[in-house]
Symmetry: C2
Subunit: 331 residues, 2 copies
């Protein structure tokens, strides 16, 4: 039998395990022109939370009692498709199923000899592209500028900081544990890291680590952390909004200081994006990331959880900040 | 004697007449290389409110017991400067004084034969440039798109709407009286106008006048009106933040719905600006505005108040929305 994870209930506020249902079905068979895929690695990402709501959003909502989808690396175990053969590994947006068929559309072959397979969900996948293109296309860093990254210990944040350093900027990360803060300044070469859970005054902490002001704020979290950073931005600051994990589970419209006065007085630019907005830049970005990775100039962290049944818990753990870098479930 | 208007007290909240002091001094005399100017028209603008605070802002604060400055058209009554002669009119950022001397720096000669002198404070001055460049450089309108303008009956708003129409867009204005709403759809050719003071549900009013969604929101006001428009923006919306008149007199940090979720899910771009940010575009913009004005394709409204002593009251009236178009004091 073939295990499947369905959206059982639309989460209200913080998602719970009971919002998911693990069920099973027959293993499907590949028809002509199709592949049978066996799931190897599953990416769990904060943005999936938005797709669990009924609201119209930038990506379609998941349907109730239907499988969740996310970035997945799968092995081709049977192929009736000319472009793929048994033993190939592919990357794509696939269902949370142990096995599934596909007509090959939207799948990309990935090679375990070029890089670790899971890296195609991280540094060489959407995560790396999001970090690189969000920073370079929207943040537009100039050498010597100061970048602050929130959610800095997460998948995108750890990459943004390293790219910022490679581009000659000062980088300060905001994260939620001393362990992650230490990782940022050691492994990932951030100039400073602020633990927002123990620091009593984040605004002051940003000010003291960035006395020259903040030129780019790469925002993964929204909420009060962002308020604290925005209070320290320079004229002409660029503010890529990549995520808002602190707000995804709000059940009421969250209130905060109005941003227009600061956006106005600082001639700042705040721009939201999803990586699909920048798809024409993927080939060049992938080439740059691969080159940095091969030259040892950039590294990445993964938190690997094992077992298909643990996918929902791994997803829930994102909201507790339990991941260092990319959260991946190995099947 | 020469009347002068000083900043008497930094306003707390809504400015009052007692925050200003009318005093007098000797009429100064022009030294070699200087001009003696006689003030003819004074521009009063909402952004001056910010300069009355002590806070560091995008333009320097006015000093206590020193004259206020704003855009002024003045007549050269005596010249000891090679570039100017008696009888010339000039435009510049000058003191609220009946007479003053200048070394000519930052002054531009304007001609009463080419256009009404007061128009150099409005459509052919900062107002027109702000409207044109804010809309075209930050709003980047494409034919057929929908533009919403707040503060639509004000100096910048009336011009933004007309330019939007000239560029082939649909334009909806939000303003504070039925009289101004009627002016927007008649004189200024807006497609729709919403009176926010009488409309019980601005969000719904924007939705019903813009069922196709809002591509550009030209924001002069901030606050709840902006919340209502932002609830109706399309994917990739552009949000030039030109002013925030509803927030200038707040004495506490104003709270509102957090913007990051909508900026993110709509891949929207919010950018604040002051016109000085775009100064390299002034010559081309002035040429375009002059051409439209001469061809009768664009018009402008002025609310002219007479008398030097009435400058402070004219400024206060801006916050009551008493102006239609540009508020100018004729001396």
């Amino acid at each position: 039998m073939n295990k499947v994870i369905l959206l059982n209930k639309r989460p209200h506020g913080i998602p719970k395990l009971s919002d998911f249902q693990i069920t099973s079905e027959e293993i499907p068979t590949a028809k002509n022109g199709e592949l049978l895929l066996k799931t190897a690695y599953v990416s769990v990402d904060p943005y999936l939370r938005g797709r669990m709501n009924d609201a119209k959003s930038y990506v379609p909502s998941f349907e109730l009692n239907k499988p969740i989808q996310s970035g997945i690396i799968a092995e081709v175990v049977e192929s009736k498709h000319a472009d793929f053969k048994k033993g190939d590994f592919v990357s794509g947006s696939l269902d949370w199923k142990e096995h599934q068929t596909s007509n090959g559309k939207g799948l990309h072959k990935v090679s375990s000899s070029d890089a670790k397979l899971s890296s195609y969900l991280g540094i060489l996948g959407m995560t790396g592209l999001t970090a690189y293109l969000g920073l370079t296309e929207i943040g537009v860093p100039k050498e010597g500028e100061t970048i602050v990254v929130s959610g800095a210990g997460g998948a995108v944040g750890t990459v943004v900081g390293q790219i910022g350093k490679l581009l000659g900027c000062k980088v300060v990360g905001i994260t939620g544990s001393d362990e992650k803060a230490a990782l940022l300044t050691s492994t990932f070469k951030f100039d400073h890291a602020i633990n927002y859970k123990t620091n009593p005054d984040i605004k002051e902490a940003v000010k003291s680590t960035c006395p020259e002001g903040v030129d780019i704020y790469f925002d993964n979290v929204g909420g009060e952390i962002s308020d604290a950073v925005l209070a320290n931005i320079n004229k002409y600051a660029r503010l890529p909004v990549c995520g808002a994990i602190s707000l995804y589970n709000e059940t009421e419209v969250p209130l905060g200081p109005r941003l227009q006065p600061i956006i106005l007085t600082k001639s700042a630019t705040m721009r939201g994006f999803i990586i699909g907005d920048l798809s024409e830049k993927f080939p060049a970005a992938t080439k740059q990331l691969t080159s940095w990775l091969n030259d040892g100039k950039i590294t990445f962290a993964e938190t690997i959880v094992e077992g298909f049944d643990n996918i929902p818990q791994a997803f829930l753990d994102l909201f507790e900040g339990k991941n260092k870098g990319k959260m991946i479930v190995k099947i």
